[in-house]
């Protein structure tokens, strides 16, 4: 669909870090017994290893995050999400599972810069300094649910619900305003 649009159509703000909405991204919610061999096989067929609790694993075609003991979030190209949902549903036809295409229910943000952690510190009660690469933290961002992980050197990716994307962008923008850095260095312990 050529006129499909993401919540904020890639809006960007420059502060002491850059905050940007990442545009359309494919996301599937997978609810299943995570030890199911059928599930693991189907995921492997698309290049995804099994994530351990709280892990997010990267693969060529996207990333796979552990959301809860019976839920995964598969992140992929937006254009491929619907087809991938069908393929996985077919593979899991005889297994008790639910595949939901949630690509348009979410918004993805990228926070880029050496002081990205400081933006999270202003908004989330989670201990970002203790978050290792490869782990996703689901938490509260001001008044809405959010999840984030370290998606690269000096980069944090953050997911929220689509309807509050504008609110989240407002929070990220005000928190990243120059002059309001929490520390001169990237984080208190660096």
């Amino acid at each position: 669909m050529s006129d499909a649009v993401s919540a904020l159509q890639g809006a960007t703000h420059e502060g002491f870090v850059t905050v940007a909405e990442a545009g359309l991204v494919g996301m599937l919610s997978i609810r299943c017994d995570l030890t199911s061999k059928t599930l693991l096989k189907a995921l492997k067929a698309h290049g995804f290893p099994k994530p351990e609790p709280r892990q997010i694993v990267e693969a060529e075609s996207g990333a796979l995050a552990w959301m809860s003991p019976d839920e995964l979030l598969l992140i992929c190209d937006h254009a491929q999400a619907a087809q991938l949902a069908r393929t996985l549903s077919e593979a899991l036809e005889k297994t008790h599972a639910l595949i939901g295409n949630v690509s348009d229910a979410r918004a993805l943000f990228r926070i880029q810069g050496a002081k990205s952690d400081q933006v999270i510190m202003k908004l989330c009660p989670a201990d970002i300094a203790a978050l290792p690469t490869g782990e996703m933290r689901r938490t509260r961002l001001a008044q809405v649910p959010a999840a984030f992980w370290r998606s690269g050197p000096n980069e944090i990716s953050l997911i929220c619900f689509r309807s509050v994307a504008s609110y989240v962008m407002g929070l990220l923008e005000i928190s990243a305003r120059p002059g309001s850095e929490l520390f001169e260095t990237a984080s208190p312990s660096s």
Partner: protein, 107 residues
């Protein structure tokens, strides 16, 4: 403000990430139950000063319900455990007994 550890995802987080759900281990009574049983299920809640078992949901996290044993007077958390059980695990009971010798688990 409390901190709790969600046994479902292993995260220790502050209270604002959780939603409270009241007393744990209630037994549901349905259409064939007596008035007394149904009244107890619907309305009668414990309100102890001391050891209490309660329901919490990791609302801003993994979304799962779990149960917690907590002292309502000192706010000490003795432990959290899966919601899919009819009574607190034996090792938790033992741990609480060690810390609160005068406490007796209720049937």
């Amino acid at each position: 403000m409390l901190t709790l550890t969600c046994p479902c995802c292993g995260i220790t987080a502050e209270e604002t990430e959780f939603a409270p759900g009241g007393e744990a281990h209630l037994k549901r009574f349905g259409p064939d139950s007596s008035d007394a049983d149904f009244e107890g299920y619907l309305f009668a809640r414990k309100n102890p000063k001391g050891v209490h078992f309660e329901r919490w949901r990791h609302a801003y996290g993994c979304g799962k319900w779990f149960l917690a044993a907590r002292c309502t007077a000192t706010l000490e958390v003795f432990g959290t455990y899966a919601a899919q059980t009819h009574k607190p695990p034996a090792d938790l009971i033992k741990k609480i007994k060690a810390k609160r010798p005068e406490w007796e688990p209720q049937a």
